[in-house]
């Protein structure tokens, strides 16, 4: 009985202690000066930096042993987390960091408390352009994102949560998982796979090119051999009957036709090499599938029958066209390699489905919703169940040495998952395989969410919107106009600059895409900043790591928004940047 009572008292005290410490750390500490590291730190690994010890004293008040133990337990737990975790005040100053945070951020053992988050992560005096805390301030909820800090040379998966006191943000918990190693491995894997694809493609293209060269050189040689020697050619008299004008014309036309074929082939190779990483946008998948098929016809042996079934009206997905082409090409190449004697049928089809219970039972990773489904079916030799189980493992291959590393399907799986898609395979030995890929269908641009629109702040300033994708410019122009802004559209940096060179427009804000032909968004921003100093600029980019804080600030960029840009966030960001003008918010 006494034992039980003691246990209850201990639990109550421990609870009180934890509550007190949390209260102290999260609420009171921001108002205090940062503490220097204490001498009684928990044991450290060799070479590690010393985080401050558990606070055994608070403002000179000695804690009772139970409270002290609870405080110690909290500190040890905090320090046991392998990822750097920081508690920040509302101004992004570090209130407390765990051991991993100290090891990452403390320079020569100097305290990290009191320093700004961006000072230690980015070596900057101002908050990062992609700081998740800006988004938290706008949305009042936790935010996760991937961030590359060139200052530290690392990529982090950052999760940041607000610490709320009666709805008011009093600080943040910032956890940064170092994913540099994974990202580097992925980059190397994608690069190696690309090299493998190029080697395979080169072999296929070489076959067609040799035929074309054969026709060009053969016809030219035939002309030269048959021309009489006194027509600009030395050597023996030509064999056979003399050339007629009709025959000469025929040979020249054959050379011209072969040249035109070479031109088409080059266009197809260039289409393939346009692959770029992570340039996701609203995309009609049908043309990409058709283009891939044209390329496959040029590269796969003519003994393989490629059948394509793409009905009209297949909707949009949010995807990188280069990567989608990579998926189609690789699955079809695999299908071709499974065909005995290079003979058989590969069928490609696209359709739309609404994922119901039946689909979710069959495809476990499939969330409810509408999908565009790509199916690639072959009449090849098929796979046994044990192969299917391992097919997406990196480096797993059924091919012979020298015929491929087996990385392809693993990379493909990564691409599909990154597109929020699902890939499934069924196979029957001796009959063939079916690969089914599900990509979430995105609503058409016209289908704006009315509910969201209602809470979007409006304005009436003049915004210049620049993106090389005409669809995006037209969609954003409609949306921003709907919010009351006067929108000047531009589909190229040059067109955007004309608004200044012609000098007829007064522009209040520039919103630009980063990745555009001939001139990046940053270069445009820098150019515009010289033409109209102080003009607020929002930069939209598919990948934050491509732009450093310094570059962005130098170019006059005030806000960075990751693509795909959420319309509501964009509307909020505009009003944040243009607060003192026409802020007619709803």
């Amino acid at each position: 009985m006494n034992g039980t009572l003691l246990l209850i008292i201990s639990v109550v005290l421990a609870g009180y202690a934890v509550f007190s410490v949390l209260f102290y750390c999260l609420r009171l500490q921001p108002r205090l000066q940062p503490r220097p590291p204490a001498a009684t730190a928990p044991p450290l690994p060799a070479g590690g930096q010393a985080p401050p010890a558990a606070p055994e004293m608070v403002s000179g008040l000695r804690m009772n042993p139970v409270l002290q133990r609870a405080v110690d337990e909290w500190q040890y737990t905090f320090d046991a987390i392998i990822d750097p975790v920081l508690i920040l005040d509302s101004e992004r100053r570090i209130v407390k960091g765990n051991r991993a945070a100290w090891q990452l951020l403390a320079v020569n053992g100097s305290p990290i408390e009191g320093k700004y988050c961006h000072q230690l992560f980015a070596g900057a005096d101002d908050p990062c352009v992609f700081c998740p805390m800006q988004t938290i301030h706008l949305e009042n909820k936790s935010h996760c994102q991937e961030v590359t800090h060139r200052y530290l040379g690392r990529t982090f998966s950052v999760s940041c949560s607000p610490l709320l006191d009666e709805g008011r943000i009093v600080g943040f918990v910032h956890a940064a998982k170092d994913i540099s190693h994974q990202r580097n491995l992925e980059k190397r894997l994608v690069h190696a796979y690309k090299m493998e694809s190029i080697a395979t493609l080169a072999g296929g293209i070489a076959h067609d090119f040799n035929n074309i060269l054969g026709a060009i050189l053969g016809n030219a040689d035939l002309l030269l051999y048959r021309l009489p020697p006194n027509e600009g050619r030395n050597g023996a008299a030509p064999l056979g009957p003399p050339l007629t004008l009709t025959e000469i014309t025929e040979h020249i036309q054959a050379i011209k036709r072969a040249g035109a074929r070479a031109k088409d082939l080059v266009a197809q190779i260039l289409a393939f090499s346009r692959q770029s990483t992570n340039q996701r946008r609203h995309l009609l998948i049908a043309p990409v599938v058709k283009e891939s098929c044209r390329l496959l016809r040029a590269t796969l042996p003519a003994t393989i029958d490629i059948r394509v079934a793409v009905p009209e009206g297949i909707g949009m997905i949010h995807a990188d066209p280069g990567q989608i082409q990579q998926v189609v090409m690789h699955l079809c190449t695999n299908a071709a390699q499974s065909l005995e004697n290079n003979t058989g049928v590969i069928e490609l089809s696209l359709r739309e489905i609404e994922s119901g219970k039946a689909e979710q039972l069959r495809y476990h990773d499939l969330a409810p919703g509408r999908y565009v489904v790509l199916t690639i079916k072959d009449t090849g030799r098929g796979m046994p169940p044990e192969t299917i189980e391992r097919i997406f493992d990196p480096f797993f291959t059924t091919r012979e040495v020298g015929q491929g590393s087996g990385m392809g399907l693993a990379v493909l799986h990564g691409i599909i998952v990154a597109h929020d898609g699902v890939i499934d395979v069924t196979s029957s030995l001796g009959k063939g395989s079916v690969f089914t890929v599900f990509f979430p269908r995105v609503p058409d641009a016209a289908g704006t969410d009315d509910e969201q629109e209602k809470v979007m702040p409006k304005g009436s300033e003049t915004i210049l919107f620049v993106d090389d994708e005409e669809d995006i410019v037209s969609m954003r122009t409609r949306m921003l106009s709907h919010l009351g802004y006067r929108v000047l559209p531009a589909t190229s940096p040059e067109q955007a600059l004309e608004y200044w060179t012609k000098g007829k427009e007064r522009i209040d804000l520039l919103i630009t895409d980063q990745t555009m032909p001939r001139m990046t968004g940053l270069q445009l921003a820098a150019e515009v900043s010289t033409l109209q100093p102080g003009l607020p600029i929002i930069l939209c980019s598919g990948y934050s790591e491509a732009v450093t804080l310094e570059e962005a600030q130098e170019a006059g960029v005030r806000r960075f928004l990751a693509k795909p840009v959420d319309m509501r966030l964009l509307a909020l960001a505009i009003r944040e940047i243009l607060p003192n003008r026409d802020g007619s918010e709803e």
Binding site: G203, N211, G214, G218, N219, L222, Y225, A254, T303
Partner: protein, 122 residues
């Protein structure tokens, strides 16, 4: 003398016909191995020039059938290669009985001379 030219590439087949006609031979054309075998059975050729990668029936299979049906027939194999390059296909063609092999693109006069040499031995 009759020469059977088998190639699925129209332009290459036309060129081969023109080269052989220029060299003074009668030419029969076929777009793949199966059509080639069919035409050869109807009108036996003295020499066959065949591509290796073709639909319906590949060149290697065609060479095997030709040698089986007419062991003395002269064969020239040509190839622009494929996934693994012409150097991987042409030795296989020679092993199966092709008398000479040419990698595309080739010198038309060398081909014409090779044909003459092979048929001159008859």
């Amino acid at each position: 003398m009759r020469i059977l030219v088998i190639d699925d590439d129209d332009q290459m087949r036309t060129l081969l016909r023109q080269v052989m006609e220029w060299a003074g031979y009668e030419v029969v054309e076929a777009g793949d191995g199966r059509e080639g075998m069919h035409k050869h059975r109807k009108q036996p050729a003295d020499l066959v020039i065949t591509d290796l990668i073709m639909p319906e029936q590949e060149g290697l299979e065609t060479i095997t059938s030709l040698k089986k049906e007419c062991p003395g027939i002269k064969i020239i194999a040509i190839s622009g290669g494929g996934r693994i390059g012409p150097e991987a296909y042409l030795p296989a063609a020679q092993e199966l009985g092709a008398d000479k092999v040419f990698s595309k693109p080739f010198d038309v006069r060398e081909l014409a001379e090779a044909v003459k040499e092979l048929l001159g031995h008859e």
